[in-house]
């Protein structure tokens, strides 16, 4: 039965035994790549953000399982990366101008530190689960990634046909 327009339909999630080892490693790589890129991303954390976007677009067509995990890895690191970028700029401002360390800055530093720790811990857990062929849903990001990676899209009906050159 074709999916009704108003009801979102999702493809069934794959079971661990159905997922080949290659896909599991690609999915795990999405998370581990972030940690490798953090080193390259310092002092400007934007580089790992770019790396994760590139990784996502290269791997999303491999399978829904890999699509889900690479999307989840990319989305979940966005808030942390953006917070890190803001922290770098704020700190540079304090270092080079007359701006002082105030309570907003202290609150923000701790918020960023905790976000990074959470991201790191959950990134490792997700990578391990992905390697085992498991679907692992992070709060908020898991649901968004699932709804994008597993959504049943309308089949493209327009067929592309090669034609001879126009005469005249």
């Amino acid at each position: 039965m074709p999916p009704a327009m108003s009801t979102p339909f999702y493809h069934p999630v794959p079971q661990p035994e159905e997922i080949p080892i290659r896909e599991r490693e690609d999915a795990m790589g999405a998370y581990l790549m972030m940690f490798a890129a953090i080193g390259a991303g310092l002092p400007l954390p934007v580089i790992n953000l770019i790396a994760s976007i590139v990784y996502y677009f290269i791997n999303r067509s491999h399978s829904r399982f890999v699509h889900f995990h690479s999307l989840q890895a990319m989305l979940s690191q966005m808030p942390t990366s953006i917070m890190n970028i803001i922290l770098v700029f704020w700190s540079v401002r304090i270092f080079f101008t007359d701006a002082t360390v105030n309570d907003y800055y202290v609150g923000y530093i701790w918020l960023t530190v905790i976000a990074n720790i959470l991201y790191f811990v959950y990134g490792i857990i997700s990578a391990v689960k992905a390697r085992r062929g498991r679907m692992y849903y992070l709060m908020f990001f898991g649901k968004i990634s699932y709804s994008i990676a597993f959504a049943v899209k309308e089949e493209k009906t327009r067929e592309i046909k090669n034609e001879p050159p126009p005469i005249g």
Partner: protein
């Protein structure tokens, strides 16, 4: 699914706000550097700097005028009496310098320039500026700035005596570098509170700033001649803050009994 995603987003946002608020209200951070210098040491440093400036810099000569001294005594004693508990012993000096300026130095030392007295039209205006400077003293902004610029070891070396070059450098920095916006706001708030406690209308500060802005509305002029404007930016928001300062019920300003014009004429 959409609803569930939104609920998750809300939960995450609340978690973020809660973490931020927790550390905003209970900041866990190493002590601010100025706390490494005790008040006694700050006062010692202030004494050294003031003596150095007054003895070496001809543009910072003390102005001796009995009429002015007694007027200033009335103003400053009203302010310092209302300050409440304080670790500082305040020293106010008027300098024979035409700049419209007032400067805070370490250890509760405040320099008031003759130009400021001549420019102000009432003792309340001078009180408003002094109250603001007292805010810088109480919040230890000057020591903070010196430690930030030179490091604690240089400041402690100067305190130990013998390094006259660095002492002059500290003095110059204390006189010339601007406070940042947060510090100015902090001092403004303190100053306005103190004015109200001293039964002086906070509007005096607004009146002073408005006249100053009107008179010197081009930046070049201010930059060349009048440090007070240059080191105290964002006058419009400060005028607004002073004008809108909430007064307690039944507030009655108590005017100074000083003949300001005749005092100014005696300068």
């Amino acid at each position: 699914m959409k609803k569930s995603i939104l609920v998750d987003l809300l939960k995450l946002s609340l978690l973020g706000v809660a973490i931020f608020a927790l550390f905003y209200f209970y900041p866990i951070f190493p002590d601010k550097p100025e706390l490494d210098i005790s008040i006694a040491n700050e006062e010692k440093l202030g004494k050294l700097i003031v003596e150095d400036i007054l003895s070496h810099d001809p543009s910072f000569k003390k102005l001796d005028n009995p009429a002015l001294d007694s007027a200033l005594c009335l103003i400053t004693s009203r302010l310092t009496d209302s300050i409440g508990l304080t670790d500082y012993e305040f020293h106010f000096r008027v300098l024979d310098n035409p700049a419209i300026n007032a400067v805070t130095l370490p250890g509760g030392n405040i320099f008031i320039f003759k130009g400021l007295i001549e420019f102000s039209e009432s003792p309340e205006e001078v009180a408003a500026v002094i109250a603001h400077e007292l805010g810088h003293v109480q919040k230890r902004h000057v020591v903070h700035r010196l430690v930030r610029e030179f490091g604690i070891s240089v400041v402690l070396t100067v305190l130990g005596g013998g390094d006259n070059v660095m002492l002059s450098e500290l003095g110059r920095t204390a006189l010339s570098t601007a406070f940042d916006r947060d510090e100015e706001k902090d001092a403004d708030r303190f100053g306005l509170d103190l004015l109200v406690k001293s039964q002086i209308s906070p509007k005096a500060l607004a009146v002073f700033f408005r006249r100053l802005s009107r008179k010197y509305n081009t930046m070049e002029k201010v930059h060349e001649n009048f440090e007070f404007m240059m080191t105290h930016p964002h006058n419009n928001s400060r005028i607004k803050m002073a004008m809108e300062y909430p007064l307690p019920a039944g507030f009655q300003p108590n005017a100074f009994t000083i003949n300001w014009e005749s005092m100014k004429n005696s300068l």
